[in-house]
Structures are given as structure tokens and as C-alpha cells.
């Protein structure tokens, strides 16, 4: 019985980490799905969102919901600007150039914040006082519930937006064939800007939830998180919105159960190993469909 309770507790630990990965992976996959660009700076947008919400709360004394809205707005703006300044001029260049630029943006943001706020971590206020839920001996914290809820809501909203609305249809059109979309009267620039705004705005929500679970903000916080979320997105099938969600939870559970039953040191190796296996067996990811490359 003890073993069963222990197992359930570890599953919940995994789901909690996974829900954060899922939230971050949604932003990754959203941008990739539409623009076919791996925005490696996404993890650092989370870091920027964390700093914005931190200063909104501690500097301006705002409540958390208002701080979150400001962080979403700030990150959306940052995302749109980054796209306009760094990615748009390279839209017709080889994909590798854009990828390298994304890495450069990531390093630029990290080092800029390192200069501005130093490497010493800043404490994040205890802002979400959502009650935890007890099921027998098992406790699920309020932050976990809230993160799972938020990622589920974001996923459904995104899916509906992309599939059902006019803007969503425009996004899919641009993703399929930008030139044809232009001929049909779709503004490619506006559509891509909107995609970046939504994807980056999501990273701010992820930032607030992440910092509520791990109450500390520092310039490098986004790099490993971004990488794990990227793996989650690839695992689920990059570009596919429900896939990001599933991938996030799978990665979280693998990590947690490896640490609990195999070895703490092997957790990362296991995660990256599974990525390799998935890429070998089903390169398009769990939810991915194999589509022939256009020639």
C-alpha cells in the first residue's frame, strides 16, 4: 500500500513538472506550426516575462493577475519586435541562418539581463494562494492544479482559435503556402506578428506559473526549461498543439519516475534518450503525421 501511495505521489510530482513543460511547449509549437521557425529564444522570453511580472509586483505593488497581464503584454511585444528585427529580414534565407539568429537572440537576452540585474537570483513573491487538495495521504498543491488547468485551457483555446476563426485560418494558410496566401489577400506580415504575439504571450503565463512553483528569478532560468519544453514539443509532434501538451506530461513523468525508481543522475539522459528513440521510430512525433516533403 505504501508503495502504491509512493508511486501516486511520484506521478503527481511528474505531472506538476510536466504541466509547466506543457505550457512552455505550447508556445514553441505554436510558432513552429505556423512560421516553421524554431524560436530558441522562447525559453528566454519566459525569463523576461518572469522579470516583468516580478517588478510589476514588487516595484509597482500590483496584484498577481495584473502583473501577469502586463507580463503577457510585455512578452508579446518582445516577441513581435524580435520577429521584426531579427527574423523577418531572414525570411527567405536558409533555415539554418534563422536558427542561428534565434540562438543569438537567446544569448543576447541572457547576457543583457545578466548585465542589468546580475547573476544573483531574485526572490519571487508567494503570490498564488490557491488551496491544495488532499486525497487521502496524497496532496496536490494549488499551484500544480492551477498550472494544469491553465495549460489545458490554453491548449483548447489555441486549438479552437487556429481551427475555427478567420485569423486561425489565415495562419494555417500562411503556414501551408505563404505566397498563395498573399494572393488570396492574407497579410503574411500581420499573421506572423500575431503568431509571435500569442506564442510569446503564452511564455509570460508560463513564467508566472513557473515562478510560483520555483520562487526565484535569474537570467539563465529559461535555457534548460526551454530545451526540455522543446523536447516535449518534438516528442508530441512539433507544430501540433495537443501534441505539445501530451509531450510535456510524458517528459515530466519520465523524469520523475526515473529519479524515483532508477537513478536521479539518469533522469536527463533518459529524457534525451527517449527523444532519440522517438526520432528514430516515429520522426514526426507521437501525434505527427508523416507528410512527404514538398519538392
Amino acid at each position: 500500500m505504501d508503495q502504491v501511495i509512493m508511486f501516486l505521489k511520484q506521478v503527481i510530482n511528474g505531472v506538476q513538472v510536466g504541466s509547466i513543460y506543457a505550457l512552455v511547449a505550447l508556445g514553441y509549437t505554436m510558432v513552429y506550426g505556423i512560421v516553421k521557425l524554431l524560436n530558441f529564444a522562447h525559453g528566454d522570453f519566459i525569463m523576461v516575462g518572469a522579470y516583468i511580472s516580478l517588478f510589476a509586483m514588487t516595484g509597482a505593488g500590483m496584484p498577481i493577475w495584473l502583473a501577469a497581464i502586463i507580463a503577457v503584454a510585455g512578452c508579446a511585444l518582445l516577441g513581435v519586435l524580435t520577429e521584426k528585427i531579427a527574423y523577418k529580414p531572414l525570411r527567405n534565407s536558409p533555415k539554418l541562418s534563422v536558427l542561428i539568429t534565434a540562438i543569438a537572440v537567446s544569448l543576447l537576452l541572457e547576457n543583457l539581463f545578466l548585465l542589468l540585474f546580475s547573476s544573483s537570483p531574485k526572490p519571487y513573491p508567494n503570490a498564488i494562494n490557491f488551496p491544495s487538495i488532499d486525497v487521502g495521504p496524497i496532496q496536490v498543491s494549488g499551484v500544480t492544479l492551477m498550472t494544469i488547468l491553465l495549460s489545458a485551457v490554453s491548449m483548447i483555446a489555441l486549438q479552437l482559435f487556429v481551427k475555427k476563426t478567420r485569423m486561425g485560418r489565415a495562419m494555417r494558410a500562411v503556414s501551408e503556402d505563404a505566397q498563395a496566401a498573399t494572393l488570396m489577400g492574407v497579410s503574411v506580415n500581420k499573421t506572423i506578428s500575431l503568431t509571435f504575439a500569442i506564442g510569446s504571450g503564452l511564455s509570460a503565463i508560463a513564467a508566472v506559473m513557473y515562478c510560483s512553483a520555483y520562487p526565484m528569478v535569474e537570467p539563465y532560468m529559461g535555457s534548460m526549461l526551454g530545451l526540455k519544453a522543446f523536447i516535449a514539443a518534438v516528442l508530441g509532434g512539433i507544430g501540433i498543439i495537443p501534441g505539445a501538451m501530451l509531450g510535456g506530461f510524458v517528459i515530466g513523468l519520465i523524469e520523475s519516475l526515473t529519479k524515483a525508481y532508477i537513478s536521479s543522475q539518469l533522469a536527463d539522459a533518459m529524457v534525451f534518450g527517449i527523444l532519440i528513440v522517438v526520432l528514430l521510430v516515429k520522426p514526426a512525433g507521437i501525434f505527427g503525421k508523416n507528410v512527404g516533403e514538398k519538392v
Binding site: D2, M6, K9, Q10, N13, G14, Q16, V17, K84, I85, A86, K88, P89, L108, N111, L112, L115, L116, S120, P121, K122, P123, Y124, P125, N126, Q139, S141, Y214, P215, M216, E218, M221, M224, L225, E255, S256, K259, A260, S263, S264, Q265, A267, D268
Partner: protein, 409 residues
């Protein structure tokens, strides 16, 4: 668009060059205040201004660069130590001068700086501050000493084990990582009466593994059962899995030898999953209160860690040091400042005892030294590592207090 990018990059460069300036300013101010020390000492010695009537110590510290925060703190302590030596009649009734070199935390720079100091004919070297450059300097200094042309060297804060075994002229003022692990194990077993302890450590960090291994060894010798020995990676942020496992084993205490930012996360998560027992740590915990929000500081209740000195210690020597430091530099001294202060004083006392600045005589005097300083009573073992008291500090209600001082074994 390219122009905008260029403007943005320019802005970034300007910001970075500004920060560079501020770094230089700090070092300038340190150098400037250092010059004033030399001037005051020159006044004190009045007629004896020729170089034959003064003793010079070389100082190596990173005053700029990534680790400058430690270097400046240490250099300030060293400077204050030298000032106090001069106020008490100097070294062998000669003025003690300091020749401070900035080595930027870099191994190559440190080696060059050491050679520059040797060419200036210093009687002893205080340095280096961080472990890697300290080791590089120790290797050269030991070789020179073995060839009959060396100086005594004391590193105030290089904790890495391999520094002092380089040669018999290499000493250190701080205790080593394993020493802290042994001290905490003794404290847990004897003062807290713990019988079951879990250990969590960073597998990719020498500091963390060094303390953890020594802790486990000593704890087991004292009959404590180590119920779990869990590792984690350097980039980990989530420790609930390991903590859930540990909690199920119901330990009396959890030992977490890591630096304060990771410690803050581990302790917070331990309390979150419902563990409210004792948590233990080492000197890396110093500063942990600053990275937690006021509302979260209570998670640190019932935690103990060891440190080189305690800032609110009522001991006269410590209180005087802290007051004087605050007056001189307008900030609180750190453990680095205290160790820097003690390093100069130890070297001075050894030269006084030897009655000469001859390297071999001073090294022999160091080996026999009994020194009472800010960081406790110090003698040296056969390696040149200090045998000294360990201050065990307690965290409660967001405050640090002195729990006990463990005498060296």
C-alpha cells in the same frame, strides 16, 4: 531593419562597456584606498622610509571580473589586517606594505601577477582567492621554494583540497570542504542526536560532493545511519521526487551541501511536500535569506549550517573587526573579509616569531603557530591546512543566530 538591429546591438555594447567601467571604478577605489594605507603607514614610520625598513606582502585577488565580488571583499579584509598590524607596531618594528595585484579570477593572469610580485621582492604572498588560480600559484610557489628560492604563501579562501599539498610553504586560512562535512556530521550526531540522516548533493559540483562524501563517512563512523544519498544535476529545479523518497524514510535530518540559490529551492520544496524536520548545510548557505521572499523565509526554520565566522558574534575580536570594517567600507564584512584579515595577521605573527623574513624560518614558524583570530583559534596540520573552530549557525524566523562553536577534532 538592419539599422535597428545595429542600434540595438550598439546599445547593448554601450551598456556592457558601462558595466565594465563600474567594475574598474571599484578596483580603482580599492587601489586608491590601498595607496592611502601605504601613505598612512609611511607617516607612521616617519624616518624609516627606505625600503630596507619596511616589509612588503604581495596580495593576489580578483578585483575585476566575474568573481570580483569575492576578491574585493577579501582584499578589503587583507588591507584592514595590514592596517591593524601597522597600528600595533608593524612587522618586526618595520612598516608593513601591501602590493595588491588584480588577477581577474584568471589562472594565466594570476601566474603573471605572482611572477610580478616575486620580481618586486615581496616577503610573503597572500592569495589567491578562488581555488583554481590559487592552485596554479601554489604549484609555482612550491616549486620555487623547493629550489631554495621561495616565499611563504597563504591562501585566505581557496578551499580546494589539492592546493596545500603542493609544498610545505603553502598554507590556507579557511577550512576545506571535507572539514566542513566532518564538522556538520559531528554536530548532527552529537549535538542534535540524529540517528537517521539523508543526504542530497549536486553530483556535478566538487564542492557539494566533497562535503557530502566527508559527511557520510564521519556520520557512519559515529553510528548514524545514512538512509538516503540522493544526487541531482546542476540545472535541476525540481527536487520533489528525491524529497518525496527521502520523506518516506523518515530521517531526523537532511543534509544539503550546496550554494544558497539551489538550497533555497530545495528547502522550499521540502517544506511543500510536508517535511518539517531539521535541514543541514555548509558555508554555501551563507546568503540564503536574501534569495527568499519575506513571506517564504519561515521555510528555513529548523535549519543549521556552518560558517567561518558569525557577524553578530559577541567575541571581542570579532566585534572589533566587524565595527572597524563597517566604519571603513560602509558595508558588512563577509566570511571572505574575515579570512583575508586573518591571513595577513597569521603571516605577520609567523614573521615576528621567526624574527626574520627568511622563507624557511617563516615556514617553520607557521607550522608551529598558535593564532587567535576573527575566524577562531588556528593551528596548521602537516599539510598547511588549518585546524580551527567551526561556527554552527541556526536559522529561525528569518534570522541567523550562533548555535554553537565546534572545537576542532
Amino acid at each position: 531593419m538592419k539599422k535597428m538591429l545595429a542600434v540595438f546591438l550598439m546599445a547593448a555594447m554601450i551598456v556592457s562597456s558601462f558595466s565594465g567601467c563600474s567594475g574598474n571604478e571599484t578596483s580603482d577605489s580599492t587601489n586608491a584606498s590601498n595607496e592611502t594605507t601605504e601613505e598612512t603607514s609611511a607617516e607612521a614610520s616617519d624616518e624609516e622610509t627606505s625600503s630596507g625598513d619596511s616589509v612588503t606582502f604581495g596580495v593576489l585577488a580578483p578585483l575585476t571580473g566575474d568573481v570580483s565580488v569575492y576578491g574585493i571583499s577579501t582584499a578589503n579584509g587583507i588591507e584592514m589586517g595590514a592596517k591593524d598590524v601597522n597600528e600595533n607596531g608593524g612587522t618586526m618594528e618595520k612598516t608593513l606594505n601591501l602590493e595588491v595585484m588584480d588577477e581577474k579570477g584568471d589562472i594565466a593572469e594570476a601566474t603573471n601577477a605572482y611572477n610580478a610580485l616575486r620580481s618586486k621582492d615581496v616577503a610573503a604572498v597572500i592569495g589567491d582567492v578562488t581555488s583554481k588560480p590559487a592552485f596554479a600559484v601554489a604549484e609555482i610557489a612550491a616549486e620555487e621554494y623547493a629550489d631554495g628560492d621561495g616565499v611563504p604563501v597563504i591562501t585566505p579562501t581557496g578551499t580546494s583540497l589539492d592546493i596545500t599539498p603542493c609544498g610545505e610553504n603553502i598554507f590556507r586560512a579557511c577550512y576545506t570542504d571535507p572539514f566542513q562535512g566532518r564538522a556538520m556530521a559531528t554536530f548532527a550526531a552529537e549535538n542534535l542526536g540524529a540517528t537517521k540522516i539523508a543526504v542530497m548533493y549536486n553530483t556535478s559540483d566538487d564542492y557539494s560532493t566533497g562535503i557530502a562524501n566527508a559527511f557520510v563517512e564521519t556520520a557512519e563512523e559515529k553510528g548514524v545511519e545514512i538512509v538516503a544519498n540522493e544526487g541531482y544535476g546542476a540545472d535541476d529545479n525540481d527536487f520533489k521526487t528525491q524529497l518525496t523518497k527521502i520523506q518516506a524514510l523518515e530521517p531526523d535530518a537532511i543534509m544539503v551541501p550546496d550554494y544558497y540559490s539551489t538550497v533555497a529551492l530545495i528547502v522550499t520544496q521540502a517544506r511543500e511536500i510536508g517535511y518539517d524536520g531539521v535541514m543541514l548545510g555548509a558555508d554555501g548557505w551563507d546568503g540564503v535569506l536574501n534569495v527568499l521572499d519575506d513571506a517564504n523565509k519561515s521555510v528555513l526554520d529548523n535549519c543549521y549550517f556552518c560558517n567561518h565566522f558569525f557577524i553578530n558574534d559577541t567575541d571581542e575580536k570579532v566585534a572589533n573587526f566587524v565595527n572597524e570594517y563597517r566604519e571603513t567600507y560602509g558595508e558588512d564584512p563577509t566570511a571572505f573579509s574575515a579570512l583575508g584579515y586573518d591571513s595577513v595577521q597569521i603571516m605577520d605573527q609567523a614573521i615576528e616569531a621567526a624574527g626574520t623574513t627568511d622563507a624557511e624560518a617563516v615556514v617553520a614558524a607557521m607550522q608551529e603557530i598558535e593564532y587567535d583570530g576573527v575566524t577562531g583559534h588556528i593551528t596548521f596540520d602537516e599539510n598547511g591546512d588549518p585546524i580551527k573552530d567551526v561556527a554552527i549557525l541556526k536559522l529561525e524566523g528569518g534570522e541567523v543566530s550562533l548555535e554553537t562553536k565546534l572545537a576542532a577534532e
